[in-house]
């Protein structure tokens, strides 16, 4: 992929860096660019629309981005290995449906059902990872097939019926407002993001995942069990996808087979946008948790702002695409400008 030429700028994370250089690094980073863009667009929308900064809109913005960020993180954990997980949506819906089934049919207490849903997410992620490792096929084709299989099995078993008998806590949690603005869902997502950041930065497992993604052969030579790392990444992805789906369950007050669209395809766009805008390389080995969070938030905010601007209903998608393009172009231009000024 043509993202190759970004590698020199970000490689060599272990080289000693002076204060000045690391500050330059920060200004050159995707994360800083995204923060600038978010600030700029907030200003634009606040001045040009009615109700963008209203408490309800800020609340729903936070809640929507909570789910989108979680979906982005789920994809990110697999992108780290240089793979893809097209089955995020299918796994998520399966996890949500199992949770609903355990509550409605088995009449289990909800914390157990939540654990059951996450466990299924992990199990399906494991199936993906195991098949990728055992067959040696690209995860793209494996997850393309399993997406169809998981979703099809779920539809077959549920006959496309929703589980509605969710306990009150669920929808109450989805509608809860902390300090009028804040959805607790956003806090859950941010906690997960912090845990992931800690995983990649400070734990051996996390660094093994990155190494396995950057160069599997070299990682294998240096004693890392690459297969185990890849499977772990897929398991992690499954759990996070399940978590995102459970968040949607609390938001909707029901477990719905169609909540991620046909085959779970509707999650694919948010799943890739977050990590990619955030600077996670599609070929693996480099990750930015903060970038994914900011990227997913930017997309959610752009959608919200465009709806507010009342551009003709059917043109929203065009403008969203254009603004995404402008966003990545601006970011690119800013970085090459800074790079020329500081490093020339």
């Amino acid at each position: 992929m043509s993202a190759q030429d970004l590698v020199p700028a970000s490689a060599g994370p272990l080289s000693p860096t002076g204060g000045g250089l690391s500050r330059t690094r920060f200004f050159l980073s995707n994360e800083f660019g995204l923060i600038l863009l978010i600030a700029a667009f907030v200003a634009v929308f606040a001045f040009t629309t009615r109700g963008f900064l209203s408490p309800f809109n800020l609340f729903s913005l936070g809640r929507n981005s909570a789910v989108n960020i979680m979906i982005g993180l789920s994809m990110m954990t697999v992108i780290v290995t240089g793979g893809l997980n097209l089955a995020v949506g299918a796994i998520g819906v399966c996890a949500a449906m199992v949770c609903g089934w355990m509550i409605e049919v088995l009449a289990l207490p909800w914390p157990l059902a939540v654990l059951g849903g996450l466990a299924l997410g992990a199990a399906l992620g494991f199936v993906n990872g195991w098949m990728v490792v055992r067959t040696g096929l690209h995860s793209f084709i494996i997850t393309l097939a399993t997406m169809s299989i998981f979703f099809g099995a779920m539809i077959f078993l549920t006959r496309a019926e929703s589980f509605r008998a969710m306990p009150e806590v669920f929808s109450a949690f989805g509608k809860m407002k902390l300090a009028t603005y804040l959805s607790p869902l956003l806090l859950v997502t941010l906690a997960c993001a912090l845990l992931l950041a800690w995983l990649y930065r400070f734990t051996v497992t996390g660094r093994e995942m990155l190494a396995a993604g950057a160069n599997p052969a070299a990682a294998e030579l240096s004693g890392i069990n690459v297969n185990r790392a890849v499977i772990l990444c897929h398991v992690l992805s499954g759990v996070l996808a399940g978590l995102a789906a459970l968040m949607l369950v609390t938001r909707n007050g029901a477990a719905i087979p169609s909540m991620a669209g046909q085959l779970g395809q509707d999650w694919l766009l948010p799943a890739f946008l977050g990590p990619v805008l955030g600077g996670t390389l599609l070929k693996g080995g480099k990750v930015s948790v903060l970038g994914t969070v900011l990227g997913a938030f930017l997309v959610t905010m752009l959608t919200s702002g465009l709806l507010m601007l009342q551009v003709g209903a059917f043109w929203v998608q065009t403008f969203l695409g254009l603004m995404l393009l402008v966003a990545v172009l601006l970011d690119k231009a800013r970085r090459s400008y800074l790079a020329r000024r500081n490093l020339a």
Partner: protein
Amino acid sequence: MLHLSRLSRADWFGPLLATILAILLIQSFSASFLSAYNIEILLLAIAVNALVAYSQMVIIAIGQMNLSVGAIGGLAAISFAGVMEVWGLPAPLALLLALAIGALAGAVNGILIRITGISAFVITLATLSIFKGINLGITEAQPFYGIPESVKSFGASILFGPVPLLVLPTAIVTLLLWLMLRRLPMGRFILAVGSNEHAAALSGISVGTTVVAAHAISGLLAALAGVLVVARLQIGQPSIGDDWLILSFAAPVIGGAILAGGHVSTMATLLGVVIVAIITQALVLFSIDPFLVQVVLGAMILAAVGLNRLRARTPLKGSH
């Protein structure tokens, strides 16, 4: 023996084996599978899906992805139908316009990727949204109905026997693509850029031109597929192309294309399309519970790929 093992290492060998096996298997269960009308229906599906798969295959060849294949196809399809209904343009002119729009949309993808150096995945994700948005903005999700009789009869007429006329454009494109990838400089450039961009640049190939050209070809093929769908459906549906993405990747990959680039096969991709079409049709023929269709489809794709994989391994072991 040696001859056979060399044959079996060719990309199209595995898919061909799977295709023949599938046909024999289904035919033994359901005699109507190879009936003339059924073959016609199969060929119609293959005619469109093959173009969709080629459109992606050209981009896979340069080691990139084109997520906007369906969006370009849809935009071309509604432009084709729209200019005929609204402006009353004759069909050949409308066809040229639709193909030009497709090629232009593809070229825009290529130019943006080349100029910005941003990954194709991100660029085509953004343009997917833009092209689809333009489509919806123009049509407001309403189909165009004013398709002239000439186009309708083109979509419905028969070349000979059970072979519909719609197969003809696809057959020509298949031949041209095969020729291009095997014999023409442009094909060599595309594959060279796909396998190693820097080496290609060092050996004097203009990487930029090649990338833009590949994307323009991809757009052109997607547009042609969109036009064929209009001829087949006899209406300009705005939702044309919405579900192309998975198929566009599945067929080339089943046909042994390497996603990293530099290695694709036109014939194997075509066979990949044939396998998927046969599977889809078999499920209907055997009256399989509609709720189970997705499961079986996924499992069959895995099986097809697995077979391909097995085929690739065995001769390697034998040669040691």
